[in-house]
């Protein structure tokens, strides 16, 4: 293949996905387990090796201190930003982090920065794509919440670099979703994208015209999502348990994880049922059960859902539009499956009155990744499907500099189309002064202390002159990723002033560089561990299938020695599964697989399309694609078809 494929990645709070453009249609690339969604969970295996996604989930439940989820909430944030998060999320932060520094999280006894954790998720997605293509993948488009600030964007880009990906573009999630929807047919008009995900909320209003997707206004809350709904339910469960038994489980991470799992199940059930049960076996004994009606649920989450209304109205106001001027509203993010959320959207945009309903045809969990794949295709040189498409996005937050008295002077207004730039002149206040300090901020508030500090720059090397004489022209440029660049020029001497950037909450280039190297050091260990986990999963699949079908009539049709062989191989494999011997585990899995072939055949003969067939076939397929870059058998077939 001449051109390397550029993939689109949705790095989500709860789940992450990778997609690419297959001829004229974006498709999600499944993982080795056949699933499209990779849970954004990272766990520490043995040594410093990491597990990602479904493989990390068991660790989250058994030893929560070795696992982390929803790390996106910590990206580009400082210790003072996350006080609220810590009440509900069992993040174990390193204590000595100072305000303005990058956070460090403890998994077991090892420390990680949020971009490093995200890099592990990205690396898993990269591997999934490489396995699917049978070729290396080094370039990607990654989506971020539209309302992410500069530090959060930079942290995401750093994570990409650590994962060995060149991030061609950061695309705003709602905008990506609009791209995915806009592909269907020639669309014109004004659409609103309401993106209510696991941890963030965005609203974007776009104008579609002849393939141009122009964002007019965007707004949101990077601290509002399905997680907040879960936390409400968890709080109730904890209260109930404390009331019934007198045990306070607030500090019991293991119990909280078990409850979290149960409340999420109940929440999902309530989108289609009028009643659900929260049912948890508590890890340290005891059982918690509670009925929850949809009505109670809706009442409970009302305050959370209502918080999405103000950003919607602000976005409309900034776009100078009234609700009835919005032609379509697209729903994105898992939380938009909740009926009361859909109802609220309909009300805000006055849809029922106009005989309309929100658009939900594309899977709200996948649409962002699909859109990222479209943008990846555009950047990768385009194709027939995307040739006229162009995305014009905006910066969500105003950019300013701190002026006298701690007031913010705005130099680039929010909702300005990016790339956007502004120039400001600075001078000295003292004779012979050679440095000028500049404080750059992002946010809408008037006072510097209420805005997000992006960076403090030192303009150095100014030729010594009388106070007020130098004229330093500083150029601020927000690029198409929404990331700020600064350059400075002393006008009277024409000398390029030196800009020393000290990013707040960010990593320096050197730090990012060293984190890349560190991960290479552990690459071999990582691969071994991953294979071990995958083979373990495979073994587990076969074992449980055998167990399940022992009651099947076909079991009795087997010769006694066949049954004995299956039994002894099963017992052996059960033991192997506990250990770390990869070769032994593989051999054991294959042996059991082979020994159960006749059993499977008999069951088929029995005219029963039983599950065991699918499962053994599945595991056979998997074995073909064990290596990280080995071609996926299914993918290969597709390549051939297209030729």
């Amino acid at each position: 293949m001449a051109d390397e494929r550029v993939v689109g990645i949705d790095l989500g709070t709860t789940n992450s996905l990778v997609a690419f453009m297959q001829s004229d249609k974006p498709v999600v690339i499944p993982g080795e387990d056949g699933l499209n969604l990779v849970p954004s969970v990272v766990a520490l295996g043995g040594g410093r090796s990491m597990l990602v996604g479904n493989g990390a989930r068991p660790i989250l439940l058994s030893t929560p201190e070795r696992a982390i989820y929803s790390v996106k909430r910590l990206m580009g944030r400082g210790v003072e930003d996350v006080v609220e998060e810590l009440k509900f999320f069992p993040f174990r932060l390193v204590d000595d982090v100072q305000p303005g520094e990058v956070l460090r999280i403890k998994l077991g006894e090892t420390e990680f920065t949020p971009p490093e954790i995200s890099a592990h998720i990205l690396r898993q997605l990269k591997r999934n794509a490489e396995r699917y293509f049978g070729a290396p993948v080094t370039q990607a488009v990654i989506t971020v919440p539209a309302y992410f600030n500069d530090a959060q964007r930079q942290a995401t880009k750093d994570a990409g670099r650590m994962a060995g990906l060149e991030v061609l573009r950061l695309v705003n999630e709602p905008t990506a979703a609009a791209l995915a929807y806009g592909l269907d047919r020639e669309k014109e008009g004004i659409i609103a994208v309401y993106d209510f995900g696991g941890g963030t909320f965005d609203i974007s209003i776009l104008k579609l015209h002849e393939g141009i997707f122009e964002v007019i206004a965007t707004n949101g809350d990077t601290h509002l999502g399905g997680d907040d709904i879960d936390n409400l339910l968890i709080a109730i469960a904890l209260d109930d348990i404390a009331g019934d038994t007198g045990t306070d489980l607030r500090r019991d991470a293991e119990a909280i994880q078990a409850i979290r799992k149960a409340v999420i199940e109940a929440k999902i059930a309530l989108s289609s049922q009028s009643m659900a049960q929260i049912d948890v076996q508590l890890p340290k004994g005891g059982h918690y059960r509670r009925e929850l009606s949809r009505e109670q649920f809706e009442q409970l989450i009302q305050p959370v859902v209502a918080r999405t209304m103000a950003p919607c109205r602000d976005a409309l106001r900034d776009a100078h539009l009234t609700p009835d001027q919005i032609d379509e509203v697209v729903l994105v993010g898992g939380s938009t499956r909740i009926p009361v959320v859909q109802q609220l959207v309909s009300e805000v945009f006055e849809l029922p009155r106009r005989g309309k309903a929100p658009r939900t045809e594309l899977n709200p969990d996948e649409v962002v990744a699909l859109g990222a794949a479209v943008q990846a295709n555009i950047l990768g040189g385009g194709s027939k499907a995307t040739e006229d498409m162009l995305l014009l996005d905006v910066t969500p937050l105003s950019l300013g500099i701190e002026a006298l008295g701690g007031v913010v002077a705005k130099i680039i207004q929010r909702n300005s189309t990016i790339p956007a730039s502004a120039s400001e002149s600075f001078t000295t206040g003292v004779d012979g002064q050679t440095n000028v300090a500049i404080h750059v901020l992002q946010g809408e508030r008037e006072m510097a202390k209420d805005c997000r500090s992006l960076a403090r720059f030192d303009l150095k090397g100014i030729p010594p002159m009388t106070a007020g004489m130098p004229r330093i022209e500083v150029k601020f440029l927000i690029d198409a990723n929404g990331i700020l660049h600064v350059s400075a020029l002393e006008q009277r001497s024409g000398k390029q002033a030196e800009v020393a950037v000290k990013p707040a909450y960010g990593l320096t280039d050197e730090q990012v560089e060293s984190m890349i190297l560190e991960s290479f050091d552990h690459a071999e260990e990582d691969i071994h561990l991953r294979q071990l986990v995958e083979t373990r999963n495979e073994a587990e699949t076969i074992l449980s299938a055998v167990e399940k079908h022992r009651s099947h009539p076909a079991w009795q049709l087997l010769e006694p020695d066949e049954r004995a062989e299956i039994n002894s191989l099963s017992a052996e494999l059960t033991v192997l599964k506990q250990g770390d011997d990869l070769q032994g585990l593989r051999a054991g899995t294959e042996a059991l697989d082979k020994a159960t072939h006749r059993f499977a055949e008999l069951m088929m003969d029995d005219a029963v399309t039983s599950a065991i067939k699918g499962q053994t076939m599945q595991s056979a397929d998997d074995k073909l694609g064990q290596g990280p870059t080995a071609p996926h058998p299914i993918a290969q077939a597709e390549f051939m078809e297209r030729k």
Partner: protein
């Protein structure tokens, strides 16, 4: 850049069309596979295009920009300089400042005077109302400028220019005043 005449009543649809046309040529997405140098060029050009489009799209910014082209210098004064108070507003501004001082004093002492707050709200709304009147007044001069420009009528151009400059300066003063009140009210 847009090849449009320096007139203030402009064809928004034509402007948008031009903007899209240039975006298709210049945008970094179109040059994602080009050399580093071309990418930098594309970034610089597109930011210029976006800045230009934004200025022209906004009626006030457009007027200011045109006046600047005509040599008018606006003071980038972010405060409410007492020496710049428009004569007819002197009394009102004086009263307002007294009230603001009183409110700040109250805030310092931890006291609250609902009547004072209400008065300030009312004053703020009244000034904000004047702002939109001013916007209308600026707009009403556009035609005068455009016509003078077409006729090449220098005297007419200068008259329109001076009138708009005066209106905009008054507007800028009022804007700062409203912001001052908002800030002080918001701070309690």
């Amino acid at each position: 850049m847009f090849g449009l005449p320096p007139k203030l009543n402009l064809d928004a649809t034509a402007l948008e069309k031009q903007f899209y046309r240039y975006s298709r040529k210049l945008h970094p997405d179109v040059h994602a596979r080009a050399s580093q140098q071309e990418q930098e060029w594309s970034l610089a050009q597109t930011s210029l295009l976006n800045d230009a489009y934004r200025t022209l799209k906004n009626p006030l910014d457009r007027t200011k920009y045109l006046l600047k082209l005509e040599g008018v210098q606006f003071e980038e004064d972010r405060g409410t300089n007492p020496s710049k108070v428009p004569a007819d507003l002197l009394e009102e501004v004086f009263d307002l400042n007294m009230q603001l001082d009183e409110l700040r004093q109250n805030q310092k002492m931890g006291e609250d005077d609902p009547q004072l707050r209400q008065d300030l709200e009312a004053a703020k709304n009244q000034f904000a109302g004047q702002l939109s009147t001013l916007d209308e007044q600026v707009r009403s001069r556009w035609a005068a400028w455009d016509e003078a420009w077409e006729q090449n009528d220098e005297a007419g151009k200068t008259a329109a220019k001076d009138a708009m400059t005066a209106l905009l300066q008054r507007r800028s003063y009022l804007q700062n005043l409203v912001r001052d009140v908002e800030q002080t009210l918001g701070g309690s």
